[in-house]
């Protein structure tokens, strides 16, 4: 049987790298990117890592370091990152007919059928090409299974002498075991935090220990998922490439607010806006939902103010992707649990019981009719099309509010250099 060969291409400090493509002044400077609402650090340049800024650290803890070392700070600019990601994936598709876009900044390439003589050389060519075409630096890990690719990539990032590319397929068994004995068990792909604690209690501390663990025992305690990881560490590919992303079973839109919100009318704007966003996502994957959950909560960090959090779910009698309908249910859910006198900080809308559009069942007895369904679908199609051409929220529902002063803070947002004519780079 032919040996499987995969490459994992991972963008280095992706959000920071995107900003660097367009900002000449931050090339070798420490840079960080903040999460939604400018709360925590979610991407760091190597220079910022060296200064001791941690992943996920709240930004107020870093203010001193930021000032002292003149660290450049950006709000997350997802319009830019999504476009740059699409460009990177587009380049990678030129290197293999089978690509799995694993996340916004990572992709697996199936190289099994390509008969490549020198995989390390292939890795360097890929890396150079992505850098030239998009400006994004990447690391490449090559191995016979996806789990080993992940390990190759982590190793590359820690050890600069690999120059960004590591091929594990040519390693001797001994060298491979040596490498695996340096990988902590919690860093193995697919081993969650809870499983890693369990394994450590049983003396399995490193990837190498897991590789040689009894698979029957692993299967019993870690289920078939754990057993697959053991086999993958041994070099047998068990996790196939997912070239088609499965449709999401739940669609969530949840964000904290830029300031505290107390009035019901304002929360209604929030919930309607989040519902509209979720409905948009629902339609973009050609699905309908028949259950909606709304949640609200106060700021848990403000210990001295009264705390309240709640969620409320409603079944919708028939699946729908019609925004006004979803908003109506969402607002009912909100009213059912809203309590006066609290400072709300976050809300979310979660759509579940999702079915593909082809699967809709007309119902003789309910208000669902195909005639209405197609009218609604056509209206939403036109709204989505207009918003796609002229920008998000060109058309929106009045209940979403106009000023939306509760919107999240993104005070250090860079321009949408690749998706808005009015914001392209000027030099």
């Amino acid at each position: 049987m032919k040996k499987n060969i995969y490459a994992l291409v991972d963008c280095n400090n992706f959000y920071v790298s995107c900003e660097r493509v367009f900002h000449a002044s931050i090339q070798n400077k420490p840079v960080i990117v903040l999460s939604n609402n400018d709360g925590c650090v979610i991407a760091r340049s190597n220079e910022a890592k060296k200064l001791g800024i941690k992943m996920g650290q709240p930004v107020f803890e870093c203010e001193e370091l930021i000032k002292k070392h003149n660290i450049r700070v950006f709000s997350s600019n997802y319009s830019l990152y999504a476009d740059m990601s699409a460009r990177v994936m587009n380049v990678l598709a030129q290197f293999s007919p089978r690509v799995e876009v694993y996340s916004i900044d990572e992709a697996f390439l199936d190289l099994s059928e390509l008969n490549i003589d020198d995989l390390t050389d292939f890795g360097h060519v890929t890396k150079a090409r992505v850098l030239q075409l998009t400006g994004i630096p990447v690391s490449v890990g090559i191995a016979s299974t996806k789990t080993l690719c992940k390990i190759a990539n982590e190793t590359v990032k820690k050890d600069t002498h690999h120059d960004g590319v590591l091929d594990l397929t040519t390693l001797s068994d001994q060298a491979m075991d040596e490498l695996l004995s340096n990988v902590a068990i919690e860093d193995v792909w697919g081993i969650g935090y809870k499983y890693s604690l369990f394994l450590m209690n049983h003396g399995i501390l490193h990837a190498k220990d897991l590789k040689y663990a009894d698979e029957k025992w692993i299967r019993r305690y870690l289920t078939v998922v754990g057993e697959r990881t053991v086999l993958e560490l041994r070099g047998t590919a068990c996790i196939p490439l997912e070239t088609q992303r499965p449709a999401k079973k739940g669609i969530m839109c949840s964000k904290s607010f830029g300031r505290d919100v107390t009035r019901l009318e304002e929360l209604e704007e929030v919930v309607a806006t989040y519902t509209a966003r979720a409905a948009e996502k629902l339609r973009s994957q050609d699905s309908l939902a028949s259950c909606i959950t709304v949640f609200v909560r106060t700021n848990a960090f403000k210990k001295d103010s009264p705390q309240y959090s709640n969620s409320f779910s409603l079944r919708i009698p028939y699946p729908t992707a019609f925004t006004p309908e979803l908003i109506r249910y969402a607002l009912n859910a909100l009213k059912a649990m809203y309590k006066d006198g609290y400072n709300y900080k976050k809300a979310g809308v979660y759509l579940t019981k999702i079915v593909p559009r082809e699967g809709i069942q007309p119902d003789l007895f309910s208000e669902f009719s195909l005639y209405n369904y197609y009218r609604q679908a056509r209206l939403m199609h036109i709204v989505d099309a207009i918003n796609k051409i002229y920008g998000r929220d060109t058309l929106f529902f009045a209940v979403q509010g106009i000023t939306r002063s509760w919107k999240m803070r993104q005070s250090r947002l860079s321009a949408r250099f690749t998706t808005q004519w009015s914001e392209i780079l000027t030099i």
Binding site: A24, Q27, V91, Q132, L133, G135, A385, W421, L425, I427
Partner: protein
């Protein structure tokens, strides 16, 4: 990536004769086809200043920058030099590379070995508003 054509209204003819042109319908011309050779590597950048005006790149114009092309000698490039982006003609001379403006009022810039320098992309088209 650059294709946002969405049919909002399809032409509907409830009755009457079919058009004799139906069999000859072709897609309308798309400017993207002309100016974009490598969609993943093409960016638009607005130019300020008149240092390239003799190369027909004027203040306020939008240039099309293709990162997939290798810069040849005398290509017009967008370059990074010592913390700034600039558009100039790249000229490889015996002693060093130079970034040469297309306007006699500006000096050429010598790119010496110590410079922090790279070519960001090659300028392939310039969009200039006439009216």
């Amino acid at each position: 990536m650059n294709d946002y054509r969405v049919s909002l209204f399809l032409w509907r003819v409830p009755c009457g004769f079919p058009s004799p042109a139906d069999d000859y319908v072709e897609a309308p011309l798309d400017l993207n086809e002309l100016v974009i050779a490598h969609p993943a590597a093409t960016f638009y950048v607005r130019v300020s200043g008149d240092s390239m005006k003799n190369a027909a790149i004027c203040d306020g114009d939008i240039i099309v920058v293709d990162r997939a092309q290798d810069p040849g000698n005398n290509s017009v490039v967008m370059a990074y030099l010592n913390g700034e982006f600039t558009v100039k003609r790249l000229s490889q001379q015996e002693d060093a590379a130079y970034l040469v403006p297309e306007n006699p009022l500006y000096p050429s810039i010598r790119v010496d070995d110590t410079a922090d320098f790279y070519v960001w992309g090659v300028v392939t088209y310039c969009i200039h508003k006439v009216v």
